[in-house]
């Protein structure tokens, strides 16, 4: 990023999707090598409008629609990255990332390694993920654990507009591949003051959302507001809950988690992915390895279930963790 004559200061109140759009706009303006592409990101500005107006402003060479083929979207991005561009691909929904998994697992994370850094891939792959807004089948998947298990790629999941902007700008400026999952539920549901200009939030640092001495709740993305609500309810009952927003799964900020669990002695982990082998299990494993002597209760995972995410409006919230379920888990570790 090149410094502007008078760096803008102050904040602007915006939604998460606006903050993402702002970050993309800033990146495009600051760095000619940044290119944005995907399905419907051009004239239409994306199905969630995250790239709204960017083609008109930065041109069809910088922001363009591709044919409908996710493997080639990622594969092409890899090639662009090899050749010195900074590709920022949008996958329309995280559940449609699957056709691209071969390119991702076979190459995206391996390129630096297998060329001993002759090549590296400063690619960002953005995808809306998660539930809570009554989307059709396969539009609410949370596949972050697959990416977290893929060596050589980073995984970032913001939970606030400011973080979305700051983390996305860091991701675009990161020399290595970054997955950037955006909780659909949060796109427009919250507004906050977001610093203007080239604001960065470092990748790899968790955020302490609330402080408390009794229970640590670890979560990210769309689950942070859920955990916050549960923490607020617990506070009413005199239970001090420390909510940690992980922000980045890879690299994970283990220190913040361990420090908190060492203090509280109780850990609840919340994600909306299926139960078996989700990223929640990794968090639990790290705690079990590094903080077991502090634990005063079993670790509890509050997650989706081992079934596909239900597209049924009436029962969607049975699957997706809600504040009640998290509150129950908090009680459970307190009562142990």
């Amino acid at each position: 990023m090149t410094a502007t004559a008078t760096p803008p200061t102050g904040t602007r109140n915006m939604t998460m999707v606006a903050a993402i759009n702002d970050a993309l706009d800033i990146a495009l303006a600051a760095d000619d090598t940044v290119h944005i592409f995907g399905e419907d990101v051009g004239v239409m500005g994306g199905v969630f409008r995250a790239t709204d107006g960017l083609q008109a402003k930065h041109g069809e060479g910088r922001v363009f629609d591709t044919p409908l083929a996710e493997a080639a979207i990622v594969g092409m991005g890899i090639g662009m990255g090899l050749a010195g561009l900074k590709p920022v691909a949008e996958i329309q929904f995280a559940g449609f990332l699957y056709p691209a998994l071969d390119q991702i697992l076979s190459h995206l994370g391996r390129y630096r390694h297998r060329t001993r850094s002759r090549y590296h891939l400063p690619m960002v792959i953005r995808a809306p993920y998660g539930g809570g807004v009554h989307t059709p089948e396969q539009h609410a998947d949370s596949p972050e654990a697959i990416l977290a298990h893929t060596p050589g790629v980073k995984v970032v999941i913001p939970s606030t507009p400011a973080d979305a902007k700051g983390l996305l700008l860091s991701a675009i400026n990161d020399p290595d591949p970054v997955f950037f999952f955006e909780a659909i539920k949060l796109y427009r549901s919250v507004k906050e003051d977001v610093p203007v200009g080239d604001y960065r939030v470092p990748i790899g640092k968790a955020r302490l959302v609330t402080q408390g001495d009794d229970v640590t709740v670890i979560c990210y993305g769309g689950m942070v507001e859920v955990a916050q609500k549960a923490a607020a309810a617990a506070a009413q009952a005199g239970i001090g809950v420390e909510v940690i927003d992980l922000r980045t799964l890879v690299p994970m900020d283990t220190d913040t988690v361990i420090t908190s669990v060492a203090k509280t002695g109780r850990a609840v982990i919340v994600t909306e992915a299926p139960r078996t082998a989700g990223f929640h299990s990794e968090i639990a494993a790290v705690i079990a390895e590094e903080a077991i002597e502090h634990l005063r209760a079993p670790i509890v995972r509050v997650t989706g279930f081992d079934a596909p995410y239900p597209p049924f409006t009436a029962v969607e919230d049975v699957y997706r963790p809600n504040p009640l379920r998290v509150a129950k888990a908090i009680r459970q570790v307190m009562d142990y």
Partner: protein
């Protein structure tokens, strides 16, 4: 056609090299594409005004009437669907009005013993083969009752992840041959979907393994906001068949008699061991992508204008009236019957109960694993607790 409102072609040329573009650019590509859509290399039976251009291709009168009935059923679903959506009685669904000939004419060439792999937009095809309207409504109402696939049909649930149905159709088709039947599998895909790798793999597998498949590629001009000409440099998608050594046919997708004719040929070839066929139906998505989409973001009224005159229902209607196969009176009876059928189905859909919480864990495996049993218990405990809490609140 107003080029300035259409999304511009995604051609990432650096300004410095712009002058190198001696090759046909995108204006030319677009012109070529547009020309190809109107060209005479499509099979056509009825002209847009309903006059017969290929007498030899005309199906039996009864078949023509049945095609009209099915197109009307489909259109009725689509039209009522819009109303129900606006009334909050149906969820977001992808309309297909204007594409009835492409869906009905093709599916009508099957029997109930054949397989149908529809996409989210192919309600018309599914209804033609007998998928109950009530189940279809339930599906777009986000009810699990839309997932109860009838036992006497081989109509698969609507495919959401694009192109995945194509290789699966190959497998179903092969399985039929292995089991000694003459049944075939038909799969639908869109112009956008035909860019996916699964499209290629499936056509190649079907050719190599001689699978009795009929692949319908509905070229309706758009993949959400991306026009076909930006999806590919090819102007005739049926020619992709050549690359697999299988027959490819391009047909007027707004002419139900033509789509029926070419599909029946393909189905017969497949049944008799002749292998797969690719059929490109050239049609148009006159409607938005879904009922919640606003196409004015990416296309102009002018883009769609020409297509009203090509409407498939009107076209066949004119023919049937002209040919004396239908009268205004007999049509009125038909429409009344269709409306009655639909309202009965709607009432049935209305009667489906809401799903219960633990239902979301049903049907994952034949036998629930210990993990699923435990998770079910969690759900039951939570919701029983909530219900009683709710009850006591209400009682208090």
């Amino acid at each position: 056609m107003t080029p300035d409102t259409r999304p511009a072609a995604p051609q990432p040329h650096a300004p410095a090299t712009e002058s190198q573009d001696t090759a046909p650019g995108y204006a030319a590509a677009q012109a070529a594409y547009d020309a190809a859509q109107d060209s005479g290399d499509m099979v056509q039976c009825l002209a847009p005004d309903g006059t017969v251009v290929r007498e030899d291709l005309l199906p039996e009168p009864a078949t023509r009437l049945e095609l009209y009935r099915q197109m009307r059923r489909a259109r009725h679903f689509d039209e009522r669907g819009w109303v129900l959506y606006r009334q909050g009685r149906l969820g977001v669904f992808p309309p297909f009005g204007g594409m009835e000939a492409s869906q009905v004419g093709t599916a009508a060439a099957l029997t109930k013993d054949d397989w149908l792999f529809p996409t989210y937009r192919d309600t018309g095809a599914a209804l033609t083969l007998g998928l109950p309207i009530a189940r279809t409504l339930a599906y777009w109402r986000t009810s699990p009752h839309g997932w109860h696939m009838p036992a006497d049909l081989k109509v698969l649930p609507f495919y959401i992840p694009i192109a995945t149905q194509y290789p699966q159709a190959v497998g179903a088709a092969l399985a039929e041959r292995r089991q000694g039947t003459r049944n075939v599998a038909m799969a639908f895909i869109g112009d956008g979907g035909s860019s996916e790798g699964d499209f290629h793999e499936a056509l190649n597998f079907a050719g190599a393994l001689n699978a009795p498949c009929v692949f319908i590629l509905q070229n309706n001009g758009w993949a959400i906001s991306v026009p076909t000409r930006a999806q590919t440099r090819a102007t005739d998608l049926s020619r992709r068949a050549d690359g697999y050594g299988i027959p490819g046919v391009r047909v007027d997708g707004n002419d139900a008699l033509a789509t029926y004719h070419v599909t029946r040929e393909a189905v017969e070839r497949a049944r008799s061991g002749g292998g797969p066929t690719l059929i490109e139906t050239v049609t148009y998505r006159v409607k938005p992508h879904t009922v919640a989409d606003d196409p004015s973001r990416y296309r102009s009224e002018a883009d769609t204008a020409g297509w009203d005159a090509k409407d498939p229902v009107t076209r066949l209607r004119t023919h049937l009236l002209n040919a004396g196969l239908m009268t205004e009176a007999s049509e009125a009876d038909l429409l009344a019957e269709i409306a009655t059928e639909f309202e009965a189905a709607l009432a049935e859909a209305d009667s489906y109960p809401e799903p219960t919480p633990a239902e979301i864990l049903d049907h994952v495996f034949a036998e629930p694993t210990p993990q699923l049993q435990k998770q079910r218990a969690e759900i039951l405990a939570e919701h029983t607790a909530q219900d009683s809490a709710q009850n006591s609140k209400e009682q208090a």
